[in-house]
């Protein structure tokens, strides 16, 4: 693996809802209320190599978007450290941190709500490079044209407003805006989920072409395992804020280790399956306000045993480059003497 462009070490993000005045009053008379804390991201470590496409997969509420936002610098991490090109963000001076922040850009799910409806496309794309002094004012117009051509938009439309474009074109505007500051790293948060099938294919192809042309690195957040399998080199599976499994895409789809990953893969609807009986993992993702103790997945896991209810499983290597957090891996070793 080449030098990681970005590394996360034990990163956590907590959201705290403090008590309001009435609740503090209630506490005075002994109501015993406490702050509500959501561990949106709980101790995630991850290294992403230059040029790699890493898929981040999980159900709603598993913290995948929060992790993406921490990586993109939108939320500060509550704990842990982030390294950009080997340098800790905490040790950088203001100028370096500013530069690192520009290098990581984010593309959101809903292309319309991410664009200011009162700005023309040329302003949307040109604002950041102008503000950051990346492009001299005299060359701004030509730069905007270049970027629009690169993402497959006709520069003749640069005077238009976002509402005058279709959904797929709007997502291209979002991509153009992210590319305008010459980033190295794109965080794509469900960036193709809102698009029609044929448009989705166009945008996925655009992402892959840009990766070649601009040697970009991606963190690709998605719930769509079909898309992830198609474009990602490596896949991270998250459940209730924790990473439960990580492996190369081939390895993960061929030999999923964690029961949650196995269940997710079984649910992926595929074109070649006909009139199949849908069999579902039971239940839903629990509230992150009160996550179950031990392994978060144990209430839904068909293989859960006593240890799962008490002890949090650690991420262990089950094959080269393949890590998984499940007690079954230990149990299998003890009982049969072979690893899974």
């Amino acid at each position: 693996m080449s030098e990681p462009i970005l590394a996360l070490r034990n990163v956590s993000k907590r959201f705290v809802k403090s008590l309001d005045a009435a609740e503090r009053m209630a506490n005075l008379v002994g109501a015993g209320l406490a702050d509500e804390v959501v561990h949106a991201v709980d101790g995630v470590s991850l290294e992403i190599a230059t040029g790699e496409v890493v898929g981040l997969v999980g159900e709603s509420g598993c913290g995948k978007s929060t992790l993406g936002r921490v990586v993109a610098g939108i939320h500060p991490a509550s704990e842990g450290e982030m390294l950009f090109r080997g340098k800790r963000l905490a040790e950088m001076n203001a100028a370096e941190r500013h530069e690192a922040a520009l290098r990581v850009q984010m593309i959101f799910q809903d292309p319309m709500s991410a664009l200011n409806p009162r700005m023309r496309v040329a302003e949307i794309i040109g604002e950041a490079p102008r503000f950051h002094g990346i492009v001299p004012r005299s060359e701004l117009s030509a730069t905007v044209d270049d970027i629009m051509l690169r993402v497959g938009l006709d520069p003749a439309y640069k005077r238009r407003y976002p509402h005058q474009f279709s959904g797929g074109q709007r997502q291209r505007i979002n991509i153009a805006r992210a590319l305008a500051v010459n980033p190295d790293f794109l965080v794509c948060d469900e960036s193709v989920a809102a698009l029609d099938v044929s448009i989705q294919a166009q945008v996925i192809n655009l992402f892959m072409r840009l990766r070649e042309e601009l040697s970009l690195t991606y963190l690709f957040i998605s719930h769509d395992l079909g898309v992830v399998e198609h474009i990602c080199d490596r896949v991270v599976i998250m459940y209730l804020g924790r990473m439960v499994e990580m492996a190369s895409t081939e390895e993960l789809f061929a030999r999923a280790n964690h029961p949650y990953t196995q269940a997710l893969l079984a649910e992926v609807p595929r074109l070649d399956q006909r009139k199949r009986t849908f069999a579902a993992i039971k239940g839903e993702i629990p509230s992150p306000l009160h996550p179950p103790p031990g392994c978060h997945f144990h209430p839904r896991c068909p293989h859960a045993f006593d240890r799962c209810r008490a002890e949090r499983p650690a991420l262990r290597e089950v094959a080269p480059g393949h890590i998984s957090a499940c007690h079954l891996n230990d149990a299998a070793k003890h009982s049969t003497g072979t690893s899974l």
Partner: protein, 325 residues
């Protein structure tokens, strides 16, 4: 066996200031008892308006201008609003993408479900409540009797959609129209709901039209598939026929754009361009400007014609062996 639903030559047009929008332009389809028809198309293809037309839910400036919709042999086009109310919610049901469109946020679930029963049948509240509990447990809601007295916001998204489906089942309808009910849900929840729905279609014999843009959902669920483009059905046949050996170039393109196992890392085959504006459709075949096979013949609108089994609306259909290659 006569079909539960028979739609012939349905045209629903919207009369807007920008001109007439032929959202549904000559759609014919049938659904048998216990059958699931997958109605597939992209945004603006007219698939939802087809569903709304069958439900009699098209509002001004839209209107059904032509065609007939027969439910168990009874003509629905031209019914009065009073007659519609006796059918809608009883024999015909719709499930929307967003369950909050079905559920009233300020009423408890039991109030809404009991009302749905008593609006169509003279039964006691106790009997209606029992039926609501039965329907909730049929869609896999744990402790249904307790959950009945909750408000919609107290349910998660997946559970809310189950409540909407349970409400749709209350009066044992002949036909359920499902308008992308699982699109907003996680894969695990989607699989649970598809599982329940599939079981119900088999157990109760309810016919179903499953409207979606997701071919992979259709492939696991539907018996037959109809693909819509610009207000017309461009291809229809059994799920195997349409998905294994598509005839119409649009269907071929749609299937090609689904990321799948065997093409990893390679560019997806994509359909160039985008869906045309419905007020300014190209003459002849609406898919012509995006079609790799188009020529001068395509300036004349093709009819839906049989091509070795499935029906396709194309002058130059793919022949199955070629499409499989």
């Amino acid at each position: 066996m006569s079909p539960v639903l028979k739609v012939s030559g349905l045209k629903t047009h919207f009369f807007t200031r920008a001109g007439v929008v032929p959202a549904v332009d000559g759609v014919s389809l049938t659904v048998d008892r216990g059958e699931v028809l997958g109605l597939v198309g992209e945004s603006g293809s007219g698939k939802s308006v087809t569903g709304f037309s069958i439900m009699g839910l098209v509002d001004a400036p839209g209107r059904v201008v032509e065609g007939s919709i027969e439910l168990n042999g009874r003509e629905l086009v031209g019914l009065t609003e009073r007659e519609w109310r006796s059918i809608r919610g009883k024999s015909l049901m719709i499930i929307f993408q967003d369950p909050m469109m079905t559920l009233n946020p300020v009423l408890r679930v039991d109030t809404q479900m009991i009302e749905a029963v008593t609006a169509h049948e003279r039964v006691s509240r106790r009997a209606a409540r029992a039926r609501a509990i039965e329907a909730l447990s049929a869609v896999g809601i744990p402790s249904p009797a307790e959950r009945l007295s909750a408000y919609p916001h107290q349910f998660s998204g997946g559970m809310r959609q189950r409540v909407a489906i349970a409400t749709a089942l209350l009066n044992r309808p002949d036909l359920i129209i499902a308008d992308e009910p699982t699109t907003a849900l996680d894969v695990t929840i989607q699989a649970q709901i598809l599982y329940e729905v599939q079981k119900l279609a088999i157990d109760t014999g309810t016919a179903m039209i499953w409207i979606t843009h997701d071919l992979t959902v259709v492939s696991g669920l539907a018996d037959r598939v109809a693909v819509m483009y610009a207000g017309k059905i461009v291809e229809t046949g059994t799920t195997d026929q349409v998905l294994d050996a598509p005839r119409h170039p649009y269907t071929v393109g749609l299937i090609g754009s689904v990321p799948s196992h065997n093409k990893r890392g390679q560019p997806l085959s994509q359909i160039p361009g985008m869906t045309p504006s419905m007020t300014n459709l190209p003459e002849g075949c609406a898919f012509r400007p995006r079609c790799p096979r188009a020529d001068d013949r395509c300036r004349v609108t093709p009819e839906l014609t049989p091509t070795t089994g499935a029906l396709a609306r194309c002058h130059h259909p793919h022949i199955p062996s070629e499409a499989a290659a």
